[in-house]
Amino acid sequence: MKDTETTATPVLRLSGVTKTFPGVTALSQVELALYPGQVTALIGENGAGKSTLVKILTGIYQPDEGQIVVDGDPVRFPSATAATEAGITAIHQETVLFDELSVAENIFLGHAPRGRFGLIDWARMREDAAAILDRIGARIDPRTLLGDLGIGSKHLVAIARALSVDARVVIMDEPTASLSQAEIEELYDLVERLKGEGKAILFISHKFDEVFRIADRYTVFRDGEMVDAGMIADTTEDKLVEKMVGRSMDAIFPTREHKPGDEVLRVEDFAHPTEFDGISFTLRRGEILGLYGLVGAGRSEVMQALFGVTRPSRGQVRLNGETLRIRAPADAIANGIVYVPEDRGKQGAIGAMPIFQNVTLPSLGTTSKAGFVRMAEEFALARKYTERLDLRASALDQNVGNLSGGNQQKVVIAKWLATQPAVIILDEPTKGIDVGSKAAVHEFMAELAAKGLSVIMVSSEIPEILGMSDRVIVMRDGLMVSEHDRDGLTPETLVRAAAGYEGEAA
């Protein structure tokens, strides 16, 4: 029982937690302890297992092995409700809230105070909502429609919602990602207040300045393992960066003799009203250009504008010296610029369509005669490119929706290679796919570059960036912050540039 206020006893402790997914070990023997009245920062690259951990803590995933201990008793969270009842609450990166409902309803959705006959007690709900909002210093009328609030205020509502259950553990998953500087300051105040109330806080962030500002303890994850933990006071940013990225570079990348040729693509002073500004870069024949940055740095947005999905407000794109007018993706494709988007589900493959039709979709011009598609040619084209990518499927007329994530990605890449592009943009090409497929994609990327295709690879995975790129551009907050040659580039340099931490060698 919680009879003493000693900070030495954690409210919540994870020990030996392991979680595997097909082909991937997301968490391996992970340890974590959260103490009342303290902020523990969880640090790690994308894919280090932070999100999986949050999902285990909130009852969405069940660990395969290991224990969750609350107040000294081992517990299980078979559902999200069970975690909430144990006093664990999470504020997610993109909290699910409802624009069409009032602030009070959003806060109490699912656990609204009930009056007689089990009906919702509206008066009490509004009072309670007002009390919570007041407690976190948010000046928001609980009757306001959520949709009428700004993003920062919505965030406060999300926090109020998290606190509406009597939480003892508050998980904040990159809470400042979408906030302005002023709102971030307010959030810090709030964190201090929660600490004062004795809540244990798990603070997940990429930003070192934040971590050093508000955290008491830290835990570093790398590739699904806990690699370090301790008091913030006993460490430095340099040490944390090292722990975070200091992997053994055991991931095998194809060796490439990079000898990029002439300039193929030149992007000059590319800008967008809200997403990015002043983007200029060149791409040479046979080059792999890495585009690194934190999630939300604007990398995909630049690529989407280049591909014609969105319109830039300013800037020029030149391909082989010719200025292009790209108004829609079809223009980019016609000019030999293709884009493999990050979100396979929404933007990549068409699940209800057979593999061969997915592959030939942008190449129907070459597989048709007199306006009619010729199936034999379609199959031939699809076979040629899917075989090169080592696609595992029983038949090419199988629907893509039935394939695994890695194989779906191969179909999408095959689709674009079949158009014989000059420039291929790969947005997080190996995100969420299994190790084997990853290696196949990397190998193929190297082979393509060797054959003279120019590649822009957007990636948040440092090993991938370092292992594959000839040159790396780092973006932060919609701006290009630095450009690096592959030689002598270290993970630390990239992390510092991306996170805006100007260490001694930024």
């Binding site: 097909p22 591909f307 999905v309 829609a328 993706p329 079809a330 980019a332 494709i333 016609a334 884009y339 988007p341 979100d343 929404k346 933007q347 990549g348 493959a349 068409i350 699940g351 209800a352 369509m353 039709q357 979709l361 942008p362 129907l364 011009g365 048709s368 306006g371 009619f372 598609v373 199936m375 595992r392 499927a393 029983s394 007329d397 199988q398 929706g401 039935n402 394939l403 695994s404 194989n407 689709k415």
Partner: protein, 324 residues
């Protein structure tokens, strides 16, 4: 071909044959070739409309205005024929299709350029097109005796022992079988509905693709306007009232996924034939019209339940995937 035996089209074909055989057992002669040809001829209009609707549904839209479009074009051709009996049927056919295309294009423009949800657009035009019939006809009927003989005879005329109506339907089916499966636009319909986001990234203009689906559906509705009115030899404001739901039902029974991106021409044809056969068989069996409606409705729900069940999830096991 082994794939076909497991497809939902094969199941539907089996159900259709079973239905015909059951009726045949009670009423000998139903399954005779001549009677089946009659059933097909009776169902021709539904088949043509269902094919148009199929394109629209494939793109994740819906067209509820087809029946109103049909009634309006039918009325216009009937009035033209009544006032200018010398006008050749071919010209009337062209006018019917042209008018239908324009109405379809109007739906399509609203969906494409103004991005209004298709169900809202076509609920609106359903009423608008129907209202225009009243305006142009003043609520009057055009009756059989006001129509020219040629006007009424055309769909009935026999060619190689099949009525022209059936031939038109077969031609439309053939055109769809090739157009949908073998052209870039055909593929675009599937892509735009199967995954609009991905279609955009593949260089397909989803809005424009939807526009073309509405245009084709409209043109076919126009064609059917003439066929319907000349076949029944009467035009009035409420012609084919409520028929839009039969069309959608035929598509649903035929396995055209209401969420778009999935379905075949053969499926739509079989779906329409299935409903057409029920409609033809039940009166023969002396079943009351109300039971007919209930049975048609049950067929729709059963078909949907079937389609939903057939969806398979992602294969996670590598070994299973290899075998799948």
């Amino acid at each position: 071909m082994t794939g076909f035996l497991k497809s939902r089209e094969a199941i539907l074909l089996g159900a259709l044959i079973a239905l015909i055989l059951v009726v045949e057992m009670r009423f000998s002669g139903f399954a005779a070739p001549g009677n089946l040809a009659d059933v097909f001829n009776d169902t021709s209009i539904l088949i043509i409309l269902a094919l148009g609707q199929t394109l629209v549904i494939l793109t994740r839209c819906i067209d509820l205005s087809q029946a109103s479009n049909l009634a309006l074009t039918g009325m216009v051709t009937a009035m033209l024929n009544a006032s200018m009996p010398g006008l050749p049927v071919v010209v009337l056919l062209a006018i019917a299709m042209g008018l239908g295309l324009v109405m379809g294009a109007f739906n399509g423009i609203l969906v494409w350029k103004l991005e209004i949800p298709p169900i809202v657009v076509t609920l609106g035009t359903l009423t608008i097109y129907r209202g225009i019939i009243f305006v142009v006809s003043g609520g009057e009927w055009v009756n059989s005796h006001e129509m020219s003989a040629a006007y009424k005879a055309f769909p009935r005329a026999e060619f190689l022992s099949l009525p022209v109506m059936s031939w038109i339907c077969l031609a439309v089916i053939a055109a769809f079988a090739i157009g949908v499966n073998r052209t870039a636009l055909g593929r675009a319909f599937y892509a735009a509905g199967g995954n609009p986001g991905a279609a955009v990234y593949t260089g397909i203009d989803v809005g424009k693709t939807r526009f073309w689906a509405f245009v084709i559906a409209g043109g076919l509705a126009g064609l059917c306007g003439y066929l319907w009115v000349s076949r029944y030899a009467v035009a009035y404001t409420d012609v084919a009232g409520g028929f839009e739901l039969d069309i959608v039902a035929a598509c649903v029974v035929g396995g055209i996924a209401i969420m778009g991106g999935s379905g075949t021409v053969l499926g739509a044809v079989l779906g329409a034939l299935f409903l057409g056969t029920i409609k033809n068989a039940l009166p023969v069996a002396g079943i009351s019209p109300f039971w007919q409606m209930a049975i048609s409705g049950a067929a729709i729900i059963i078909a949907v339940a079937f389609n939903t069940r057939r969806e398979t999830g992602r294969v996670i096991l590598k070994s299973a995937e290899a075998k799948a």
